[in-house]
């Protein structure tokens, strides 16, 4: 029976259900000894995990010679992953340098 007074407003469960991901998530938790303090945190991480499975499929399509899938970072959002596991502070002049290089490449593409 569906309780019409309670409406699902987040999409995390939908993603999880679409892919049948919860079993994979449980294996991921076991493999990487992950612990989540509350049920809410578990569901939140499950939602992120499901989205990352979709990202892995997208990455696999764009990058077919590599293998993409579940990694130790599959329960992190892209923003969390960048904040916690990367950390190079790019100089503004570097971005300009790359932009100039891009322009040169495009300009020389005569034939």
């Amino acid at each position: 029976a569906i309780d019409e007074t309670i409406v699902q407003v987040t999409d995390s469960r939908r993603y999880a259900d679409l892919l049948g991901t919860e079993e994979k998530f449980k294996i991921f938790i076991e493999d990487y000894s992950k612990e989540y303090a509350t049920r809410e945190e578990y569901l939140h991480r499950l939602g992120i995990f499901a989205k990352n499975m979709i990202r892995a499929v997208e990455h696999q399509a764009i990058d077919p010679t590599a293998v993409h899938g579940v990694t130790p970072f599959s329960d992190l959002s892209e923003e969390e992953f960048q904040r916690l596991y990367t950390g190079v502070r790019v100089r503004p002049q570097l971005n300009r340098k790359v932009q100039e290089e891009d322009a040169t490449v495009e300009g020389s593409d005569d034939d």
Binding site: Y32, I62, T65, L84, T86, G87, R89, L94, E101
Partner: protein, 230 residues
């Protein structure tokens, strides 16, 4: 230049390390380059301290005073070299072990294991990068890590990977001549990259990336370092 080259086979690369949930990749990239340069000049491989950089290095870029080394919140390898030249050197891992958190600076100049005397930026040309790699040892590089979150193995050769959004410091340790790429219709040369996310990530902690296309900005922030020979 040799067709393929790998500093790991020559004993110039320490075991894969784990930065943990701390944006200290810049420190690992720096120590990797210093470890390699020290090996090239002395023949000895030392395991050097990232924690010293995380705790003690607050150096800012000369042109952009906002780009400062800031422990787990990020930094730049070129800033770290300047810090090491000014501080007098780098302790080894055993005397200043990694904790994964920024703490009080406990650098002891008496315990310096390696001194840095100079460093240089390498041009964006990937043949020049290969030549410098062979000559100077493993090189500190930075790249756009967007594909690395889901990477498990193989040669990564994405059709699109932004060169402008460089956010991760790693270590270039070698290159190979032939890694098969469907998209590029044949065997493609690749870089061998040491990461700092532990051995359970990627190919036992390593990443292989297409060579010759400036892939993910790999050619834009490359540096080599020279250490003191006593």
């Amino acid at each position: 230049l040799p067709e393929s080259f790998d500093w790991r086979e020559k004993g110039a690369v320490t075991d894969v390390k784990m930065q943990g949930a701390c944006g200290s990749c810049w420190a690992f990239s720096t120590t990797g380059a210093v470890e390699g340069a020290n090996f090239v000049s002395t023949g000895k491989l030392l395991n050097l301290s990232e924690q010293q950089l995380v705790d003690c290095d607050h150096t800012c870029d000369r042109k952009d005073k906002r780009a400062c080394d800031n422990g787990c919140r990020g930094g730049l390898m070129s800033n770290a070299y300047r810090y090491l030249i000014e501080a007098g050197g780098l302790e080894d891992e055993a005397s200043y072990p990694y904790t994964g958190k920024r703490g009080e600076c406990k650098f002891d100049p008496q315990k310096v294991a390696v001194q840095v005397v100079n460093f240089t930026d390498i041009p964006v040309n990937e043949k020049q990068i290969a030549a410098n790699l062979v000559q100077h040892g493993p090189l500190a590089v930075a790249l756009n890590a967007v594909f690395m979150q889901t990477y498990i193995g193989g040669v990564s050769c994405p059709l699109i990977c932004g060169k402008r959004w460089i956010n991760h410091g790693v270590l270039l340790v070698g290159y190979g001549a032939k890694g098969f790429s469907i998209l590029r219709l044949g065997n493609q040369p690749y870089w061998i990259i040491k990461n700092s996310w532990g051995k359970r990530w990627g190919e036992h902690g390593y990443y292989r990336l297409c060579r010759g296309h400036g892939m993910c900005g790999i050619n834009t922030m490359v540096s080599a370092v020279v250490t003191q020979v006593s």
